[in-house]
């Protein structure tokens, strides 16, 4: 009985370590200054004992509308570090919405994040407030940019996320502004991103 419990505990420990490496370690190692000691401490200490999240950053590729308005440009930006994939996803989307002049985000600035959750299959659901739709320019190309800014920002920076579905006010939405089909999770598409970035 004891041996069995020990075995289960062992397996759990291995799974936990694996999970930490996959979801916390990897994003951090691909971060800006992958200091070995910081990465090691992230693995060794529970999240609660970590230094305040605000102090720690990761470098992520964020997407902005090019000067000519014809494509998205990937840009390296610092984003607050978060301990879990959903929290990190939320931090990345928040950074995408934040004003960062002179860069222009395709996401309306009034948009609020209601929730971000990630399924076991690697589908992220990004629940946004209605402003993402009501404050949108309504252009089809802009709508493509808005959708793929979010989809690409998550799939490019977080390997654990393979597809992204956008929800509006907690509900599945047909489209943001009448064009792009949002009924299914969308996979990364760099078709709209300038080639010299990424």
């Amino acid at each position: 009985m004891n041996a069995r419990a020990a075995a289960i505990a062992g397996i759990l420990l291995v799974a936990l370590t694996g999970g930490l490496v996959l979801f916390v370690g990897l994003p951090r190692w691909y971060g800006p200054k992958p200091e070995a000691s910081a990465a090691a401490s992230a693995l060794a200490t529970p999240a609660a004992q970590q230094p305040p999240a605000a102090a720690r950053k990761i470098t992520a590729t964020l997407f902005y509308v090019s000067d000519d308005g014809m494509q998205l440009i990937g840009t390296q930006r610092e984003v607050p570090f978060a301990a879990t994939v959903p929290e990190q996803a939320r931090a990345i989307v928040a950074a995408q919405i934040e004003s960062s002049a002179p860069l222009v985000s395709a996401i309306p600035a009034e948009t609020k994040i209601r929730d971000v959750f990630v399924t076991e299959r690697g589908d992220a659901f990004v629940d946004l407030s209605a402003e993402v739709s009501t404050k949108h320019t309504g252009g089809s190309l802009d709508e493509i940019f808005t959708v793929y800014t979010i989809v690409n920002a998550l799939t490019v920076n977080l390997p654990a996320i393979t597809r992204v579905q956008i929800l509006i006010d907690g509900k599945e939405a047909d489209t943001l502004a009448g064009h792009v089909d949002l009924r299914h999770p969308l996979a990364k598409s760099l078709e709209w991103v300038a080639h010299d970035t990424q």
Binding site: D68, G138, G139, S140, L141, D142, H179, V180, D181, L186
Partner: protein, 521 residues
């Protein structure tokens, strides 16, 4: 290197000649079988690489195959259990158990019924022909199809469409209808006094009609027969043949209906007065009007984007996308109806909110041949200008849509054994199988627009647009210009710019219709 290439070429030539020979023989057999369906005529087992006859014996009115023959053809292992009076047939690590005196079989543990029990006669076991479709097909691991009417067994991935034809005489017009299942690419061409229908297939399984006796039809078409090639059908044209036209109509169940209209010469000087009373006067040939015009263009649905609560894009001076799109759509309808004589429907003809699904549904329910969604664009960059043409990007809909787009029919097991080829298509992916046509339509319209209005740098694009996904016909979305560009906002409301767009769209439709009509001939 050269040796390798030479051996490759030899192999290629050998395969080709074998395939041609096999196909030629099969057509002969298939035609023979169709003409003389003798009860004990053998079946033909047809695969890509070979063709073999399979003897049939009739026992108490039931057509049966010898199990030994089947074992040889399909490498089955047959074991007889003398004690239990049963037979065990193994293939692919799966077994079929047959019991003497019982019209039943257990196929991989599942019971199926047979029209008769197996019979032991002249030192061999005989099983009903349905054994092939009901017992063998489900476990063989490769496609296997029993076609009783044409006495064929198709093994593996063989393209042999079934073709059923009929001839109707409608006054001056002789209409030949060929139902082709499953839908198969084909071309209709005239070569001298013959009309050739060529199919992209390995062989044909055709039941061809006989043209009616003179004087009603045979003076236009004398015979409809298999061609010299195994994948062609030949019409021998008569002396009064004038012209022909052809149109494809998709019918339910993945069938394509090819309608070929043979028009007689109207004023034949050769038969003045004599044949004239027998023929109805030319004015009594209304079917001509009901025919699809060349290219099969009868109904076009125009979708003015947005509407009602959904304003769409908005210009700095307050111009709303929903109003621009409706205005252009109304003009386009008038011009198309006037110039092309086609039926044109608008998804909305007022300022109402209309869900995206309903827009495609209007086109689907009215069996539209083309769907055009009109939009005006907006950008966070006000400098952006120019028109763009979009068609659907299938990549976002996953592998299933890709399969549908490339003509995938699915072989599904049916109750009682065997399998049926059906085209499974999710309604929201209806556009998938028109994607190539939509791409061609988009290119044609883009070229026509470019002649009249400024285009964007990304003039032709693919995107996962919701309104296009459910359209069951070639479908495009046209962004006519950017309302967020002050200069374009002014242009978009002028008569001149709007009629430029309308003219360009009409030109694009006419050219696309011409190209499609040329493609089917």
């Amino acid at each position: 290197m050269t040796k390798f290439m030479r051996s490759l070429l030899t192999l290629h030539a050998r395969v080709l000649s074998a395939a041609v020979a096999a196909a030629a023989i099969v057509l002969t057999i298939a035609t023979f079988a169709a003409q003389a369906p003798a009860p004990a005529a053998p079946y033909t087992v047809f695969s890509r690489s070979a063709r073999q006859p399979l003897a049939v014996r009739t026992v108490s009115g039931q057509e049966m195959f010898a199990l030994d023959d089947l074992a040889r053809l399909f490498t089955l292992t047959v074991r007889e259990d003398a004690l239990a009076g049963g037979l065990t047939i193994s293939v692919n690590n799966q077994t079929i158990v047959l019991t003497a005196q019982q019209p039943l079989a257990s196929v991989a543990g599942r019971m199926i019924s047979l029209p008769a029990a197996p019979v032991y006669e002249s030192h061999t076991w005989l099983v009903p022909v349905d054994f092939v479709s009901r017992a063998l097909a489900p476990i063989l691991g490769s496609p296997l199809e029993l076609r009783k009417p044409s006495r064929l067994i198709l093994v593996g991935d063989v393209r042999m469409p079934r073709i059923a034809g009929r001839v109707e005489v409608l006054g001056n017009l002789t209409r030949v209808t060929l139902d082709v299942a499953p839908a198969t690419p084909h071309a209709v061409t005239q070569e001298g006094a013959r009309l050739l229908v060529r199919f992209e297939a390995d062989a044909l399984d055709a039941q061809l009609p006989t043209p009616p006796a003179p004087p009603t039809g045979a003076d236009v078409v004398q015979a409809i027969r298999p061609g010299d090639q195994p994948t062609t059908i030949v019409f021998d044209l008569g002396p009064r043949f004038g012209s022909f036209r052809t149109a494809d109509q998709p019918a339910p169940g993945g069938v394509t209906r090819i309608v070929i209209d043979l028009v007689a010469q109207t004023d034949t000087a050769a038969t003045p007065g004599t044949a004239a009373p027998a023929l109805p006067p030319a004015t009594e040939t209304p079917p001509l009007l009901e025919l699809p015009p060349p290219g099969g263009l009868r109904t076009i649905v125009i979708d003015p984007g947005h509407g009602g609560d959904e304003n769409g894009a908005r210009g700095e001076k307050g111009t709303l996308e929903k109003n621009v799109t409706l205005s252009v759509a109304r003009r386009l309808k008038g011009t198309l109806e006037g110039r092309l004589g086609v039926r044109v429907l608008l998804t909305r003809d007022g300022d109402q909110t209309l869900p995206l699904d309903q827009r495609a549904a209007v086109a689907n329910n009215n069996k539209a041949d083309l769907f055009i969604s009109l939009h005006a664009n907006a950008s966070v960059r006000s400098g952006l200008s120019g028109a763009e043409v979009f068609y659907l990007n299938l990549a976002e809909y996953g592998d299933e849509a890709q399969r549908v787009a490339h003509g995938g029919a699915e072989s599904l097991p049916v109750l009682g054994g065997g399998s049926r080829e059906i085209e499974v298509i999710l309604w929201e992916m209806a556009q998938a199988r028109y994607i190539d046509q939509s791409a061609a339509f988009a290119r044609t319209v883009e070229a026509a627009l470019r002649e009249r209005i400024p285009m964007s740098r990304r003039a032709i694009q693919q995107a996962p647009f919701r309104v296009l996904g459910g359209a069951n016909m070639p479908a495009i979305l046209v962004e006519m210009g950017f309302l967020t560009n002050p200069q374009q906002e002014q242009q978009l409301v002028t008569d001149e710019y709007q009629s430029g767009i309308v003219q360009a769209l009409v030109d694009g439709i006419v050219r696309f219709r011409g190209a499609s009509a040329a493609g089917t001939r």
